[in-house]
């Protein structure tokens, strides 16, 4: 258990459980409960989505009509984005194109919303202020007042960009408009859901990893950072202290492995959910032959994908925020425990 979490849960040094009284504790506990609840909620949803998808896919495979369709359309969504151009050696893929469309759309929207700022906001300004301010307060509740000032730009981008990229990926035409291949199928779609590209999600995860390292070093210093990972926590003496040093060194190694694995889990979680969602929508569209079936059947799943898009944006942001909080608030919490 990390020291920040120990302090939050009320374990003091030496392992004796003492719930510190006062407003700060109550707030910290509420913050933690909120995060745990949201994570529990969102952790259950992907399972449900995968379950539904597997059920539908297995059904599709047992359906004789679907077998015929399968043979005709063995075509499945490619697992990776397709490169459209390479100006000056810089590869531009169809998912990157959607990334830029979403970014430009968000910037234009924000600029229009904030062009004439009113003291009593209304319309677009009201919506944009609600989104940004709501997100700011939400993050402030989780990672604290000081850290949110420094990191808001990143977490806001993570949430808002992932959310709208996921939703834009659901617009009909993304993945279906493009250059036709010799077999008559779309070989190189012009647009692909931005997060249905592992390069993109891995890029976000690695940028976070870099930022996380910088923020961790800024808050703890290099020595503090290493101490946070490997140093024994709690006050012990004698042989027990020696034992603790060995135990915490081992825990630190595990912690480092878990930290190094974070970019992988973050990127595959988002990519998997979004790519699976696109596959599911395609499978639903092909489930019943005829244009009516291909339009009507996916509709309920579109609503689910809207939810998955929101939940995945929230999960990515919450996890990155919590990882940042755990490494950065160490000193502060520790100092707080001393008082």
């Amino acid at each position: 258990m990390s020291p920040a979490l120990r302090t939050k849960l009320g374990f003091n040094r030496g392992g004796i459980t003492v719930f510190r009284s006062g407003l700060f504790d109550a707030l910290a506990m509420m913050r933690l409960i909120k995060v745990i609840l949201v994570l529990l909620l969102v952790a259950g949803l992907p399972a449900a989505v995968w379950g539904a998808q597997e059920a539908v896919l297995s059904e599709a495979h047992t359906d004789p009509v679907a077998h015929v369709e399968d043979h005709k359309a063995e075509h499945v969504l490619p697992a990776h984005a397709v490169e459209l151009w390479r100006p000056f050696g810089f590869p531009i893929t169809n998912s990157m194109l959607v990334t830029w469309i979403v970014a430009v759309g968000l910037i234009v929207f924000a600029q229009i919303a904030t062009r004439r700022m009113q003291d009593v906001p209304s319309g677009l300004q009201n919506f944009w202020e609600w989104l940004v301010e709501g997100l700011y307060s939400f993050l402030e509740g989780i990672i604290g007042q000081d850290l949110v000032k420094k990191t808001f730009w990143f977490f806001a981008t993570i949430f808002i960009f992932i959310l709208f990229a996921n939703w834009v990926g659901l617009i009909p035409g993304v993945g279906t408009i493009g250059y036709k291949g010799p077999d008559g199928h779309i070989a190189a779609p012009w647009f692909r859901g931005a997060n249905a590209d592992l390069n993109m999600t891995l890029a976000m995860a690695m940028v976070f990893f870099l930022c996380w390292t910088i923020w961790a070093l800024q808050s703890n210093g290099p020595i503090g950072f290493l101490k946070h990972l490997f140093a024994p926590k709690g006050e012990t003496t004698g042989l027990l202290k020696l034992l603790m040093i060995v135990v915490f060194l081992a825990v630190g190694v595990l912690e480092v492995i878990s930290i190094l694995f974070r970019p992988v889990s973050l990127s595959f979680r988002l990519y998997g959910n979004i790519f699976a969602g696109e596959n599911m929508l395609e499978a639903m569209a092909r489930l019943v032959p005829g244009w009516l079936g291909s339009i009507l059947i996916p509709i309920p799943f579109y609503f689910m994908e809207l939810l998955v898009g929101l939940v995945q944006a929230l999960v990515f942001m919450l996890l990155t925020a919590v990882f940042t909080m755990l490494i950065c608030q160490h000193d502060e919490e520790h100092a707080g425990a001393h008082h």
């Binding site: 990776h80 590869p91 990157m96 924000a110 700022m117 202020e129 730009w153 390069n199 993109m200």
Partner: protein, 174 residues
């Protein structure tokens, strides 16, 4: 051996999902630019405006508190002035009342004195009148006694007789 196998798995996975250095680096650059642009053009104006509004609201609330305190102070001062004015007015009324009572008393005394004076004068005048009437009466009675005596006796009285008779009569009247 394990390292080679591990690297092979990573390589296979990366190839399966289309992850390679050029695309990955391109996406890192792309995402970094997107994040910076969103920060500069999408959040910064709103955050600045929100901060500005927060400060103005805080200032407004502070001013409202100040105005409230000022109002309270003014109200207190007004009440004090009012109380003072009230007390002063009461004092003035009391003073006026006392002055009026004093004046009334003085006037009453003056009136009494004047009345007494008038009465005395009247008395004096009455006494003088009475004395004059008495002397007139005496003179008249004397004359009548002399006239009557002369008529009864049928003699002419000398001036001495007349004087004696008159004096006698007046002595008897007195």
């Amino acid at each position: 051996m394990n390292h080679v196998m591990f690297a092979g798995i990573i390589g296979d996975t990366a190839r399966a999902f289309g992850v390679d250095w050029p695309h990955f680096i391109a996406q890192v650059i792309s995402f970094s630019i997107v994040a910076l642009l969103l920060h500069r053009f999408a959040y910064k104006p709103v955050l600045a405006a929100l901060e500005d509004r927060r400060q103005r609201i805080a200032e407004g609330l502070e001013n409202a508190e100040k105005i409230k305190a000022e109002l309270k102070r003014t109200e207190q001062a007004r009440q004090e002035v009012l109380n003072e004015a009230n007390a002063q007015a009461n004092r003035l009324i009391e003073e006026a009342r006392a002055a009026a009572a004093r004046v009334r008393e003085q006037e009453t005394q003056k009136a009494i004195a004047a009345a007494e004076q008038i009465v005395a004068k009247a008395r004096e005048a009455a006494a003088a009148d009475q004395a004059r009437m008495l002397s007139d009466l005496k003179r008249e009675i004397g004359r009548l006694v002399v006239q009557t005596t002369a008529t009864v006796t049928g003699k002419v009285l000398t001036p001495e007789d007349q004087k004696r008779l008159a004096e006698e009569a007046s002595r008897q009247v007195a």
